[in-house]
Amino acid sequence: MSYRIKPRHMAAGLVLSAVAATGSAQYRDEAKPDGITTQSIAIWLGTDYTGKPVATPRDAKGKPILNGYWKLLHEAGKPDGNLAKDLPQFQLPYTAAGKAALAANEKVVDPEARCIITGIPRALTAVLPFEIQHNGVRFATFHQLGWHRLAWLDGRKTPVDPDPRYSGNGIGQWDGDTLVIRSQGYKDSADGRVWADDNANPISSEAVVVERWSRPDYHHLNLEFTLTDPKYYSKPVKYARHFVLAPEGERLKEFSCEWNTYWVSTHLEPGPGRIGADGNRYFGPDKQIVPDWPLGSVEDDGRGTGYWLYRKNKPKPSDLPPKPEAE
């Protein structure tokens, strides 16, 4: 991939480097707690509801309604954004091709940072909240980076030769009170544009993801999914998560992922960043488990890229000086 770097970008980069070198950087200083992490945790993560259980809402056919704005109940010690979250030592059963695909992914810039659609299962492993809306025929999850994924609940048959998609081609049906969505026809990491999670794990065109969604009561949502991808994984990968309904009035924030920015074209590094033995790539110092709000902001809180990863001694997008376009 070639980026066109303008002289003004180089000049701005040099200025930034100089600022960083003199130690008067605007970006977050690991030595000085600033409250941003605490605020971001409150914005992104769920706090469990411990009141009296309220009945699951149901539609005219008696099936559960899963609609709502859902926040993750983060599991202590478990890495978010890692497909191997529930596996021993957080190790995925890669095939040889899978290992090679992971190595290749680590050499490309995070597709989210390039504002390519976050697909499935990656969006389901993210730490960020999301919204579900569905009716009898359509199921949608709306995600914080501005994308949505859609599936059909209209009883259709599996398509024979579907267009490859980042979100696959999902078809759902009810198994009792559990909505089961089976998706296939995925884009392949070999294209250099899709990761299965934040940690750069690969997904192939042979992948099948089966999601099982249930809402045991009004305030709780459970997800279990299985990724079966014989090209990159020697056995199916299982993954489970719990979400809590967000407090009344909270919603996804609008985010326009704009990768044609000064930041993206001059500062991105390939790969997911260093992943520790605990399976987490983290979003910042002190093992920050959520990204900062504003998210990967370039100019103001509604524009940015999915590149919010804090790297030691590197400025992050929201620390940049005002938009170079205004020069």
Binding site: R4, N67, I116, N135, W147, E254, C257, D300, A326
Partner: protein
């Protein structure tokens, strides 16, 4: 899609439609499901052809479906009705000469957009409100009792919470966005969405429509959506923007139902957007018919010209 492909596809489609219309006339009345289901996909149809292929329904109006609370359900795949002699993608389509009542500031903002801003959609920025309402692309609505979402071709969306009528939040509590901050409520069987908190064309990458008309940080958009019957969706929209427009103006539009089981696909706008600097500013020349035109109307020759024709 090339014009050659388009004309071939068109010919194939016209033939198919002619055949279909003969058959369909006899069949439509037999069952509701036959009248509402998605048309069969043409052989080898590409995604773009598929997106614009209409559902042919000539039967009597069927009632609009209802949500659990008895209100009309606007969900579905909707394809814009193109009015003859009226431009698409132009919010001034209902105005004399297809020109919006721009203030002096508005004229300056329009000229600025034409000379400085690459089409925001061309560089994969959220299209925003009200721009998507005059787009030529079909869109999908997913509507539940308390939420209303319009899902666009770019795999982006706008959502609104449907509740009792209430004021918009105060200006200082709003962070400016492309889709704005909204409230949605019912007036009888019409869903009203009021939107404010939008970005400004003079210094941000937002246009009012495909033609590069401006919108400001004072803009308020009032959309009135209704589904008079199963197969039709209509919008009456008022744009109030005292900064760029002398008077509030109206925009009305109709969409046809695309058929049960159809919806927007997936489209990753940023997938290969590395040639931004080759995209010039502005909407291009807008003709007296109010259209900016998306390409050449003349069909391509049957055999492609040699490389010499391109002046390489």
């Amino acid at each position: 899609m090339s014009t050659l492909m388009k004309s071939k596809t068109f010919a194939r489609r016209a033939l198919l439609l002619a055949l279909l219309s003969v058959c369909v006339d006899h069949v439509w009345a037999q069952s509701r499901s036959a009248a509402t289901r998605a048309p069969e996909q043409a052989e080898n149809a590409d995604a773009e052809t598929e997106m614009f292929r209409p559902l042919i329904y000539n039967g009597p109006p069927l009632p609009a479906p209802r949500l659990l609370d008895g209100k009309p359900d606007l969900s579905g795949f909707w394809q814009g009705v193109r009015e003859k002699g009226v431009p698409g993608g132009n919010h001034g389509k209902d105005q004399p000469g297809f020109i919006l009542p721009l203030t002096e500031k508005g004229k300056r903002a329009m000229i600025y957009a034409q000379n400085h801003t690459p089409d925001p959609e061309a560089v994969c920025i959220n299209g925003g409100i009200p721009r998507h309402n005059s787009s030529g692309l079909p869109f999908e609505i997913l509507h539940t009792t308390d939420r209303f979402a319009t899902l666009y071709h770019y795999t982006t969306h706008r959502s609104a919470t449907v509740a009792e009528q209430r004021p918009l939040p105060p200006k200082d509590a709003i962070s400016k966005t492309y889709f704005g901050t909204n409230v949605a409520y019912w007036e009888s069987d019409t869903l009203v969405i009021e939107t404010t908190g939008l970005r400004d064309s003079s210094f941000e990458k937002i246009w009012l429509d495909e033609n590069g008309n401006p919108t400001s940080d004072q803009t308020r958009v009032i959309e009135r959506w209704s589904r008079p019957d199963y197969h039709h969706l209509q919008l009456e929209e008022t744009v109030i923007d005292p900064k760029y427009y002398r008077v509030p103006f109206k925009f009305t539009r109709k969409w046809n139902y695309g058929g049960d089981g159809r919806g927007v696909g997936e489209y990753s706008c940023n997938e290969n957007n590395v040639e931004r600097e080759h995209i010039g500013p502005g909407a291009g020349v807008i003709g007296p018919n109010g259209n900016r035109g998306f390409g050449y109307d003349a069909p391509l020759p049957k055999t492609p010209p040699s490389p010499d024709a391109y002046g390489f």
